[in-house]
Symmetry: C2
Subunit: 213 residues, 2 copies
DNA sequence: GATAAAATCAACATTTTTCCCGAAACGGGG
DNA sequence: CCCCGTTTCGGGAAAAATGTTGATTTTATC
């Protein structure tokens, strides 16, 4: 039996946090106070650089990000995180209404884009939506990571067999395509099932498909 | 054998068109001229109501939609189409920069949101992206519609069996759950495969999953 | 060159699926 | 009342997948 516990990435499960990045001290403190007084765990940073220094890829929650900052801008930080496959939802905060900027940010995957000044209710509503969305996506991402990890454990041959199985080929056809005997295909197939942690073809296909091909 | 040709919805395959809805005659004509001179098939309307009167659910291409219009607004038209499951990508055009409006539109699924004045190149680029995106989604939507149609043809019992098959149950287990004999399960299962238009379990699962469950 | 991982194949038994045939009960609609 | 779709069940046989045990060859790595 192959021992792949369950999670490829074992992260100490901490609760969701709200990350705030804003160079304006007053603005940042006000936001932190608002969120903390409503029970959220908040971590504030006065620059994109400070956030990055603390970021380790395991931040869970959402990020409230000021667009205009000295040094690295909010948009740059957003792009930086995106390139590193961060799943942290980002809510942009800006003082100067700029439609093209908002459009670009949202089309690139920002969770929201809000103008200052905003009401406390509005911000709380947005944060709550954002965190809820993050919770939803988390399980899915965990499964995807697990599946990707399991897929990576397959040998080249096993992966070839898997692809043909998913394509709906019979063992006989797979044997023909790969130029090997049916017996060998059965061996590979059994190993694939084992390594992927499934017992039925239905789960196998579901698992591989839901991880994106 | 069950005869379900291929498409649940048979629509006369017309090429993509660019639909323009704008109450400003000069603006609309200018846009139509720009697009037609670049080889696009354009259909223009001077109001949301006029567009709706012509809309039959089979419009293929994309929609350039002015936000502010007398009578039904662009946003209202957008909502109207969304409620009717229109897949027509919508590009909003507005004269007055309004970040919250842009954010709302994009979050509700608008393809883009552009401010006037815009350059010809920008508009052409956006239209081209939009049409490309629409082409990509079309095949998928067609398959989804076909699968939905086939699923709808299943009897209640057949659907129950299908669900259990997808859950990875063996015929014996399905028979137990439904309290019927294995033989009967085999019959249902064969009918399901036939009606769904597949020959292997792999294709069956792929088909049902890609239609969203 | 030894070791380990990967890939290859086989005999054997069992389970499961698929496909052919046929058939009976039930309910509704023409 | 008969036809049709639905659901139900069986025999029989072929095809396919699964599981166990064991073995050989190749390939990569130390």
């Amino acid at each position: 039996m192959s021992e792949v516990p369950s999670g490829a990435v074992q992260e100490a499960e901490v609760g969701q946090q709200v990350f705030v990045v804003d160079d304006d001290d007053a603005q940042r403190d006000s936001l932190v106070w608002l969120l903390e007084s409503h029970g959220y765990a908040v971590r504030a940073f006065s620059s994109a650089e400070a956030f990055l220094a603390a970021w380790n890829g395991n931040f869970v929650g959402c990020l409230l990000l000021d667009v205009r900052m000295p040094g690295m801008s909010g948009l740059e930080l957003f792009g930086w995180l995106a390139r590193r496959n961060s799943a942290l939802p980002v809510v942009f905060i800006t003082g100067h209404g700029d439609v093209p900027m908002a459009v670009e940010a949202l089309r690139k995957g920002a969770a929201n884009f809000i103008e200052k000044p905003f009401s406390a209710e509005e911000m709380l509503r947005i944060v709550e939506n954002c965190l809820a969305q993050e919770r939803e996506g988390r399980t899915q991402r965990r499964n995807q990571a697990d599946t990707a990890h399991r897929l990576a454990q397959l040998t080249v041959r096993e992966r070839e067999v898997l692809d043909l199985v998913i394509a709906g080929k019979l063992n006989k056809q797979i044997a023909d395509v790969l130029g090997i005997s049916i017996k060998t295909v059965e061996v590979h197939r059994a190993r694939v099932m084992d390594k992927m942690g499934v017992t039925t073809m239905a789960s196998l296909i579901r698992r591989v498909m839901s991880a994106g091909l």
